[in-house]
C-alpha cells in the first residue's frame, strides 16, 4: 500500500474548506483508521485569489487536476448538475476514485455513473443527510433485508421552519424569514421549501433500497409553503406534529415514492426531530424498524461523511477489527472522579430540623441542590425526601450519602441515581 493517499479537491466552499480542516486536525485518527496517511494535493476553485493560507496548491485548472497522476481520489464539492457529472466521467475514465456530496447530480445521473464506474469506487455518503451514515446503513448494515419502507425528515431548512411554526405559532412567512436570518435557508429557498431537495435524496435512497431508477418528474412532490398556523393547532389538538417527509414503500408489484408535509403521531420517534436535524426511519423485513438521526447539513457534518468515504476507499483491502491500527494508550477515568448531577431518595423521620441537617451535609460536600420533593408517609412519622443536585463528583456524592446514612433521622440506606444530560 502507498504511504500517502492524495486527494484532488474541487470546490473550497463551506464543505470543501471543512474537508481540508478535518483532514488536517484529525490526521492521526484518520491515518489510524485508513491504514494510510491522507492529504490534499491540489484544490481547484473558480477564483484562486479568494482562497489563501492552505497548505496545498490551489488552481483554477480542472483538467490538470484530473490529469495529475499522483492524485488518487477526486472529491467533488462544486455543486451544479452537468459540470460535476462531466468531472465524474473524466475522473472515472482515469480510474481514479470519485467522492461527491452532490445530491442533485446523483438524482439525475446516478445510474449512468454506476455504469461508467464499473470497479472504480464512488463514494456519496455526504449526498444524503450530511453526517448521518444512512447510505452505509442501507448498503451495508441492512444488506440482509428487503426494505419494506422508509420515511425521513430529509431537509433541515423546512424542518426548522415547521418546528418554529409548531412551537412558536409563527406563520410560514415569519418562520422562513427567521430561517434566512439564521443562515438555515438560502435567499432563494425554493429547493428546500418546495420539497425538491428532499426528493433528490429520496431518489438516491430508493435506488439503494430498491434498485429503482425513478426520476424527479415522476414522483409526487409537495412543499410546505401552504401550511398555516391552523394546521399546527389541529395537529397539537390531536397529538400530531407536521413534518416534511420523504416516503418510500415497497408494494408487491411497485414502489411508492413521495415527498410532502405529513402529520405524524407524537409517539413516533420522527416527531421528536426538531430544528435543522434530519432523521430516517427504515423498516426492514427482518430487522424491523431502525432509525438514524443527526445533522443533515453544515460544513463539518457533511465533510465528516465525505472523509468517511475517503477512508473506506483507502482501506478497501484491509479490515481493522477494532478500528485502530495502533492501540490507544488512554487510561480509564477512575470511578470516583466521575462528574455528574445526582438524584437521591432518603427515608427520614418526619421531625423538625431534618432537612437542615441534610442540606448541611450536602453543602459541606460541595453539593448544591436542584429540585426537592418531600413526601409525608401517611399514618407514620416518616417522610421521603427526594432531591436532585447540580453537577458534582462521584467521590463527594458517595461521601455525602455515607454521612447522610449515619444521621439518626435517616432511616434507611439512601438510594442514588445519576443524571445524564
Amino acid at each position: 500500500m502507498k504511504k500517502r493517499l492524495n486527494i484532488g479537491l474541487v470546490g473550497l466552499g463551506c464543505v470543501g474548506s471543512a474537508v481540508a480542516k478535518i483532514l488536517q486536525e484529525n490526521q492521526e485518527i484518520i491515518k489510524d483508521r485508513a491504514g494510510v496517511g491522507i492529504g490534499i494535493k491540489k484544490a481547484v476553485v473558480r477564483d484562486v485569489k479568494k482562497h489563501k493560507g492552505y497548505p496545498f496548491e490551489i488552481s483554477n485548472d480542472l483538467e490538470s487536476l484530473i490529469e495529475d497522476e499522483e492524485i488518487d481520489i477526486v472529491v467533488e464539492l462544486m455543486g451544479g448538475v452537468e459540470a460535476p457529472y462531466l468531472l465524474a466521467k473524466k475522473t472515472l475514465a482515469k480510474q481514479k476514485a470519485f467522492v461527491t456530496a452532490n445530491k442533485a447530480m446523483l438524482a439525475y445521473h446516478r445510474y449512468e455513473l454506476e455504469q461508467t464506474a464499473k470497479n472504480t469506487p464512488i463514494g456519496f455518503e455526504a449526498s444524503v443527510c450530511g453526517g448521518i451514515p444512512i447510505i452505509k446503513a442501507l448498503k451495508d448494515g441492512l444488506s440482509a433485508n428487503h426494505i419494506l419502507s422508509f420515511k425521513g425528515i430529509l431537509n433541515g431548512t423546512s424542518n426548522y421552519i415547521l418546528s418554529q411554526m409548531f412551537k412558536n405559532q409563527a406563520s410560514f412567512k415569519d418562520a422562513l424569514k427567521d430561517a434566512q436570518h439564521l443562515g438555515y435557508a438560502e435567499l432563494n429557498p425554493e429547493f428546500d421549501i418546495k420539497g425538491i431537495d428532499a426528493a433528490h435524496k429520496l431518489l438516491i435512497l430508493a435506488s439503494l433500497a430498491y434498485g429503482i431508477d425513478a426520476k424527479l418528474e415522476e414522483i409526487l412532490i409537495e412543499g410546505i409553503e401552504k401550511i398555516e398556523p391552523d394546521d399546527m393547532e389541529f395537529a397539537k389538538e390531536f397529538g400530531y406534529s407536521i413534518k416534511l417527509l420523504g416516503i418510500a414503500k415497497k408494494h408487491p408489484d411497485c414502489i411508492e415514492l413521495r415527498v410532502h408535509p405529513s402529520m405524524i403521531k407524537n409517539e413516533c420517534m420522527l416527531s421528536k426531530v426538531d430544528g435543522v436535524m434530519n432523521a430516517i426511519s427504515v423498516i426492514g423485513d427482518k430487522v424491523g424498524e431502525t432509525l438514524y438521526y443527526g445533522a443533515g447539513a453544515g460544513g463539518e457534518p457533511t465533510a465528516s461523511a465525505v472523509i468517511s468515504d475517503i477512508i473506506e476507499i483507502a482501506r478497501k483491502k484491509s479490515s481493522l477489527m477494532l478500528g485502530f491500527e495502533t492501540p490507544q494508550k488512554l487510561p480509564l477515568k477512575p470511578k470516583e472522579e466521575i462528574q455528574c448531577a445526582y438524584y437521591a431518595r432518603l427515608l427520614v423521620s418526619d421531625e423538625k430540623g431534618v432537612f437542615s441537617q441534610i442540606s448541611a451535609i450536602l453543602a459541606q460536600n460541595d453539593i448544591s441542590l436542584n429540585n426537592v420533593l418531600q413526601k409525608e408517609i401517611l399514618h407514620s412519622n416518616k417522610a421521603k425526601i427526594l432531591f436532585s443536585t447540580h453537577t458534582t463528583n462521584e467521590k463527594s456524592m458517595l461521601n455525602a450519602l455515607k454521612e447522610l446514612e449515619n444521621l439518626q433521622s435517616v432511616l434507611d440506606t439512601p438510594k442514588m441515581i445519576r443524571l445524564e444530560n
Copy 2:
C-alpha cells in the same frame, strides 16, 4: 470470485435458526448485494436429534467443520466465553473468516482475537444492539471523527422493565415478572438487570471509539434492581425518565466508562426509546450528535446483523455503488393510487347545512371522517372546518376536494395534508 460462499454455522438456537431462514428467504437480494450466492454447508449443534428439516448437514462434530476446506466463513452463535474463543482461534488459524454475535466473549477476548486475526476478517456487528448497525457506524460512518462521547440504551430487557415501571407505576418485581412472562427476560435475569450485558457492549463500543482495552472489573456497573416507584414519580414530576445507560466520555487524558440507571431529560431523544428497543447517541467532534435506534435483540434482528457481516466479507473486493448487481424492474406506484389518511382545512360560510353537504361529498367518495374541529371566525359569518379522515386513496381524496371546492358554501381552495403513521 467463487460461485458460492459456504457458511459453517455453530449453534441453531433463536439466532442461528433465523440466520438459516433469512439466508433462504432473502437469498436473491443477498446474492445481489454480496455479488455471490451464500449458503450454509453445515451446522454444528449439541444434540443433532433436536434439529430437523434443514436443507444442510447437521452434525455435532465441531472439528470437522473447522477442517472442512469448502467452508469459507464460520458463524459462531453458540454462546459462552472460552469455548467460542477457542473456536475463533482455530477458525482464524485456518484463515477462514469468523462472524460472531457473542458480546461476552468479545468483552474478554477482543484484543487477543484482533491480534490472532491479522488480515482474516472478523465480523461482530450482531454483538452490540442486535439489528442496529452501530459497529459499522463507528468503524465506517463516523471514521473521520474523534468520538467525544456516546451513551446508549444497550439492554432491551432492563429498558422494558423501566418502561413498565414508568408507564404503569409497576414495582420492579412486577415489571420483571411481566418481562419474564413475555419472554423478554430469562429465568435468571442477572446479566440483564445488573448491567453486565450492557457493560459487555459498552466495552466493545469503547474499543471501536477509543481503542481502549478496558476490562469489565475496572468500570462502574450498577443495575436497575433498586429503583422504586417513588423514583419514577420524581422523574415524571421534573420532566425526566429513567433509563439504564452505558456511558462513555473522552477526556483529555482518560476515558470514562460506566453503566448505571440514569435520569435523562424528556427532550432527549433517548427518553423516547421504550420497551425492548435500544438506541445509542454518539457525539463526534466534527459530525455532532448522531443517533441509532432499533431492535437490540431477537432472532431475526440479530441474524440481520450477522448476515450483513457475511455480505461485507463476501464483497470485500467489489463495491456496488447503488447496492444491486442487477437493476430491479419494479415500476413506480402511480401518484393517484397512493393510499393514506388525510387532513383537510376548509374555509366555509357559517350557515346551516354546510357540514352535511361536506360529509355527503366525503361519503360519496368513500371517505370516512376521523377527527373534526369547527372554528367560527369572529365578526364574520365564516368558519373553518378542519378534519382528518381514515385511510382512503389519493384519487378519491383529490376528487372529494375538487367537489368541495365547487360548493357555494366553500369559500377558498381546500388545503390538504397527508397523515403518515
